[in-house]
Amino acid sequence: MNRKTSSIRQREEIQGYIFILPWLIGFVVFVLGPLLFSLYGSFTNYNVTSRMDFIGFDNYKRMFTGDPLFWTSLYNTFYYVIFMVPLTTAGSILMAVLLNQRVSGTRVYRTIYYMPSVLSGVAVYMLWMQILSPETGLLNTLLRLIGVEGPAWLFDPAWTKPAIIIMKMWSVGGGMLLYLASMQGIPTQLYESADLDGANAWHKFRYITLPMITPVIFFDLVTSLIGGFQIFQEGYVMSQSGDGGPMNSLLFYNLHMWNKAFEVFDMGYAMAMAWILFVIVMILTALNLKYSKNWVYYEGGDNR
């Protein structure tokens, strides 16, 4: 009896492994392999074609002591993440709350606001470069209507990153959809009993809606934090000749890494940079996970 169950178990175990084998192979060949390779590469002067000598921590040392652009790129990336993440999160929640109202035509509005998230790639950047054009762009033309002379956006180093953050706000529709779905799932009894207790709209939002969507906020926060650190195209496409914009104000971490890898062919250094970014993001995510206990509410209890 005992032996029989264990043999069934074993068989099922083997079958299980066979089922996940494609993923395992893919993971080892395409993820783990390159990952370990890049870890080793970061300790060499690898240049893709002719060199791969072990040089110890030289790349890391050079990064922290001899490369001013490393710090510039790190600063630019942090600046972007620190503003982009809270702003887009707040923006999507706000949008979701507005579109969660029962008014006629909500479906149309939802579609309209979600639309920008469907568009992607270089075309959007081109569009925004026109919107942000200092003299004839739509944004500054509108600002002029209310008597404000807008900055030169992508040409003024102080305004390039805010310009990109504004652009990101345009596509909060993706996050909005998540929040909307989560809000639709909030039991109406909660609101009804709050009504009986005489709660106003703000109270209902603050004490019912917000706690109920914290798991989604958490998810959104973690993913957009990670996504934020990967910013690359914006700096590459939206600056003249892809060099990182006026005064290197759009030289993001990944753009600098790309330049080191494919312009300078200092692939070892670029790999070391990738690992530093990995460590930074890992630490931030771990902190996020640790402190999430304090504010993320799971209806099913803590042990989920």
């Binding site: 395409f30 993820v31 783990l32 392999g33 390159p34 990952l35 390779f37 890049s38 590469g41 240049n47 893709v48 074609t49 002719s50 060199r51 001899g66 001013p68 652009l69 510039t72 054009s133 200092p134 003299e135 004839t136 030169a152 040409f155 003024d156 180093p157 798991p215 958490f218 998810f219 973690v222 993913t223 990670i226 996504g227 990967q230 060099d243 990182g244 006026p246 005064m247 290197n248 030289l251 990944n254 890494m257 330049n259 080191k260 890898a261 494919f262 312009e263 300078v264 062919f265 692939m267 670029a270 790999m271 990738a274 970014l277 990995f278 993001v281 890992m282 995510t285 996970l289 989920r304």
Partner: protein, 452 residues
């Protein structure tokens, strides 16, 4: 634990895919290759069976010229080559501009590169340093003619690494001053004598400015329209920012003077005027020079084709870029491309025959006549038919004092340290002295860390 699973998995996948892009792009590359060696083997077999005395060597030639104007020219050159002999057959592969260098790099790393490629002339030595292209010395040594005499000397210099050639120059360009003769006549300047020095340029420009109701409606000249500040810094003394030995010439009196000159220009016209003008710049009919909004402009020589096609009514002249002071030299700047054999190419001897043909007079003058590009071959550039075009004639004259700025082996990415400082000075965020001093020391550090 479940709730931790998802974000972590996404984190892993996203970040690891990043390192994959860096490490593993050669994987996808190989499959996209049409696998020429296999074809080759088959052909060998067939041809041996058919008892052909000579088997044709097939070469794969890559370039990014795929437009309706360029592609037919390069394809005609290739078919001429294929028809001229019966031992080599070249196939043309168009690879888009955004992909060609990374694909080439991956193909070299995978040991299966194209047989010849058009690549940036400024980075030939940089690639040679990484063993990405083939040393041509053994093939050049076998020649009875001296191949290097074909080319403008600075272009030949640009393809050398440790004194040996790793590519052959293909084409280049140079900057020239275009001026509007009608505007000159209108304000009482001699339409046939353009400014020769920076001082004259400024003097003429002030006369050519047109102000109505306190607003500029025409600007005589602005140094940063058409070229960057770095070009004026090169023009000031005819010296590159870094020489072959890794000496840095950024914070020099001449270059400081050049940048100060530009900053003064911006201060005189004012940011607002400059930005307002710049925002309306377009191409073709909306080009500021063609539409008459600007009277003088330093432009790439091939601006000529725009004038020809869209500015029939503009009466213009073209001359060398003005010099800093009399005698400092009308220095100009050019880029360009070289044709090289990637490292590990299977038939270097045949590849060499092909790139030698591409840079010979016939092919080069064909390219020059159709593209109106400055070609690397001196004899082709001096072709009488081309010399009858005014712009081309002046451009060939300018080649004497045209600097090529090869990427220094010791500091391949120094421009990333220089440009932000130039930006800072031009935007008034730092003084010229401070900016260039900082750039000088940053670049010196970079050279030092790479020289070890």
């Amino acid at each position: 634990m479940k709730r931790f699973g998802r974000p972590l998995a996404i984190l892993l996948v996203l970040l690891l895919s990043l390192s994959m892009v860096l490490a593993g792009c050669s994987n996808s590359e190989q499959s996209e290759q049409p696998a020429p060696p296999a074809d080759q083997g088959q052909d060998d077999g067939e041809q041996a069976a058919a008892d052909t005395p000579k088997e044709k060597v097939k070469l794969d030639f890559w370039s990014f010229w795929g437009s309706v104007t360029r592609r037919p020219i390069i394809e005609k050159m290739i078919s001429d080559f294929n028809g001229s002999q019966d031992s080599i057959e070249v196939k043309y592969t168009f690879v888009p501009w955004g992909d060609i260098w990374t694909k080439n790099l991956a193909a070299i790393a995978a040991g299966n590169p194209p047989d010849a490629i058009i690549n940036d002339i400024n980075t030939v030595a940089h690639r040679a340093n990484q063993k990405q292209n083939t040393n041509l010395t053994p093939y050049l040594a076998k020649e009875s003619e001296n191949i290097q005499d074909r080319f403008f000397p600075q272009l030949w210099e640009a393809v050398l690494f440790n004194g040996e050639a790793y590519g052959l120059p293909f084409n280049t360009d140079t900057r020239l001053l275009f001026w509007n003769k009608e505007h000159f006549a209108e304000v009482g300047l001699d339409p046939e004598s353009p400014p020769q020095s920076w001082a004259e340029l400024e003097e003429y420009a002030k006369k050519l400015d047109k102000v109505e109701n306190g607003k500029y409606t025409r600007i005589g000249f602005y140094p940063l329209w058409g070229v960057g500040a770095d070009i004026w810094m090169l023009n000031s003394d005819g010296k590159n920012f870094i020489d072959e030995d890794g000496n840095v010439y950024v914070n020099t009196p001449e270059k400081i003077q050049a940048l100060e000159w530009i900053v003064n220009w911006r201060n005189r016209l004012g940011d607002k005027t400059v930005n307002a003008f710049q925002a309306e710049f377009g191409s073709q009919q909306a080009d500021p020079f063609i539409s008459g909004k600007v009277s003088m402009m330093v432009q790439n020589m091939n601006f000529y084709t725009q004038l020809r096609d869209y500015g029939k009514d503009v009466k213009y002249g073209v001359t060398l870029v003005p010099e800093r002071e009399e005698g400092t030299g009308h220095w100009s700047w050019g880029g360009g491309f070289a044709v090289e054999i990637p490292y590990g190419a299977k038939h270097p001897e045949e590849s060499y025959q092909f790139i030698k043909y591409l840079t010979d007079v016939d092919a080069q003058s064909y390219w020059a006549k159709w593209g109106l590009d400055m070609v690397a071959n001196k004899n082709a550039a001096n072709d009488p038919e081309l010399q009858s075009i005014d712009v081309y004639k002046v451009a060939v004259e300018a080649m004497d004092k045209t600097l090529i700025t090869p990427t220094p082996v010791f500091a391949p990415d120094f421009i990333g340290l220089l440009n932000p400082q130039i930006d800072a000075a031009v935007l008034g965020k730092a003084s010229v002295q401070d900016a260039l001093k900082k750039a000088q020391s940053d670049i010196e550090n970079l050279v030092k860390s790479n020289k070890k």
